[in-house]
Symmetry: C2
Subunit: 337 residues, 2 copies
DNA sequence: TTGTAAGCGTTATCAA
DNA sequence: TTGATAACGCTTACAA
């Protein structure tokens, strides 16, 4: 069994008493084969446990059916939920996901990516906010279609799926003001990815429009610990903020925990807090965080349907950009509502 | 470019002025090729952007380098951290991960798995607790090596990686008793996977040995919401527990939140809580949960190194079982420590 | 050390 | 509708 565990179309053909092309046609959608032949082939295939070899198939068709998911921080709630959604929808579309972790930045990223290229993935979906241009170039150069999620890239070719980060952030200013807040703050990471910066910029300019200044603080990654540090900095200001918009939910959770447990601040009475992503934890009763929901299912759907379109018959598909809305999920970390 | 984006060994050979076998040998570890030839080949390959086609290579060698990760609930903190660890280590070992989501149980699991089989994955790693025997059979029958994580399966062939769930759970009884707790409870999910049941059983029997009864309650999935429901049930008992061991950290978080916010119970003063997995949230200051750490890196290492071993030269590798320790991570959800 | 040639399991083309 | 045949890009005897 370790010697030859796999059944080939040849063997199926022999058992069914037909040619191997008949077998191939049976498993090729839209090929012409008589009901009788098909029946016999299917029967033989079933009995032998035959599975079409996609390695060989991909070689022939120059189309592997493999889609490469390039992602950093995949242990993170938002990232992992996006991976889940995309993987599921790819499966539903008859494709399969390959996973490439880009956590380490020391060239091993490049190595892993080349590894994926060797498998002739039809496409790559870049879920990470990593602003590394060489990655996208490498994918494109190898004939892969490319989907960039939350990356404000203006290159030609890839599908770009973005959120209305800035607009969403702007809407939040109104909510804060309506709650009676006057001293607004923005707690950001230093990562500087386009979507993070768009949230900051959208928030700050909208506030300015309404005649309110915003204190902006940036620190570290987009995780929980950064939120704690940012709280240290913002909550010790002489003019302490009464409303803070955190660039991610994880930052918001860290911020809230520090505010409550270290500064004994009551939320939302003394401080209103909002986040972004709507991770599962945002709904936990310790946080009840008002936040913007990432439409992960919609993002996945856009990506997968675009990949399903044949770019030969649809030239517009070669260069496409989609903007989705992040809806505000109201919970009790902001007064009123 | 959309026509023929990939460079073949043939083209590299022509440019380097050698035969295509020379090219192949250059990229085959341990093949004999002169330094001069190698240099010219590498140079040409570099210039052309050549990448060995692993589809074709896998076809020849009957070894794809693909490892299939079969997993449900991959958006969950513990699952996603395990996926991250395994994916990274596979990359380091020169292999690549394929991701199969088994969330939907309605035959689409089977479909997705067959999809993976078609790619002739060398191995499958089952990360999910899904006790579906047909899946393991299907993998084995198709000549894949198999790794079962946290599945108490006694089949021959696969590598089985398990934790000392029962022993760990037993140790916790001592900790609870030392904290002065007398009314012990176990909050479990209804999922009934081997590791969950081992935790329950280990806890209950260890307590019995020490002359203490345990109230066991089971409900729903292994998630946060189940914890809330379990809290409703256990904290309304006439003899209210003063210590509860939750089968997973997510259950523990839900339990703690309900205990505090609905029952105004102070932790750890009035109630000691412990969990299992050591997810990131367990360290958050709202929880500070004492819990057992899943050794995800060690699990991943065991799996990947086993896959790297050639089973032909190491017959014992065909049937191997590993038991790892879950270490108790002390935080402040239990008195003392 | 090198090149030639066969074969891996497919699908597409083309007669029959 | 069917079967033979030629690719696809690779590795590996085998011969030079």
């Amino acid at each position: 069994m370790s010697q030859k565990p796999f059944v080939s179309a040849q063997e199926v053909a022999e058992r069914a008493g037909v040619s191997r092309s008949a077998v191939s046609r049976t498993f090729t959608p839209g090929a012409s084969v008589s009901p009788e032949t098909r029946r016999r082939v299917v029967e033989a295939a079933e009995a032998l446990g035959y599975h079409v070899n996609h390695l060989a198939r991909g070689l022939m068709l120059n189309e592997s059916g493999i889609v490469c998911l390039i992602v950093s921080d995949m242990g993170t709630p938002y990232r992992s939920s996006l991976i889940r959604a995309v993987t599921q929808q790819l499966q539903d579309a008859g494709k399969i996901a390959m996973l490439v972790n880009t956590d380490r930045s020391d060239g091993s990223v490049d190595l892993a990516l080349r590894q994926a290229i060797r498998y002739r993935a039809d496409a790559s979906i870049i879920l990470s906010g990593m602003p590394d241009k060489s990655i996208t170039q490498l994918c494109l150069k190898n004939g892969q279609r490319l989907v960039l999620i939350n990356r404000d890239d203006d290159q030609e070719g890839p599908l770009r799926i973005n959120l209305d980060d800035a607009a969403a952030a702007g809407r939040l200013v109104t909510a804060f003001l309506r709650a009676g807040c006057r001293r607004l703050a923005f707690a950001n990471s230093e990562a500087g990815t386009p979507s993070l910066m768009a949230r900051e910029h959208g928030f700050v300019t909208a506030a300015k429009t309404m005649g309110v200044e915003v204190v902006v603080e940036r620190y570290g990654s987009t995780g929980y610990e950064s939120g704690r540090v940012l709280a240290q900095r913002l909550l010790t200001l002489s003019e302490r903020p009464d409303a803070v918009f955190c660039a991610t939910d994880l930052i918001a959770c860290g911020f809230m925990d520090a505010a409550r447990h270290q500064f004994s601040i009551s939320i939302p009475d003394q401080l209103c807090v909002a986040g972004f992503d709507d991770i599962e934890q945002a709904a936990w009763s310790s946080y009840q965080l008002t936040t913007f929901g990432q439409p992960v299912e919609a993002i996945a759907r856009e990506a997968v349907t675009w990949l399903g379109r044949d770019d030969a018959e649809d030239p517009s598909a070669r260069n496409h950009s989609v903007r989705l809305n992040a809806d505000l999920v109201w919970r009790s970390s902001i007064r009123g509502g």
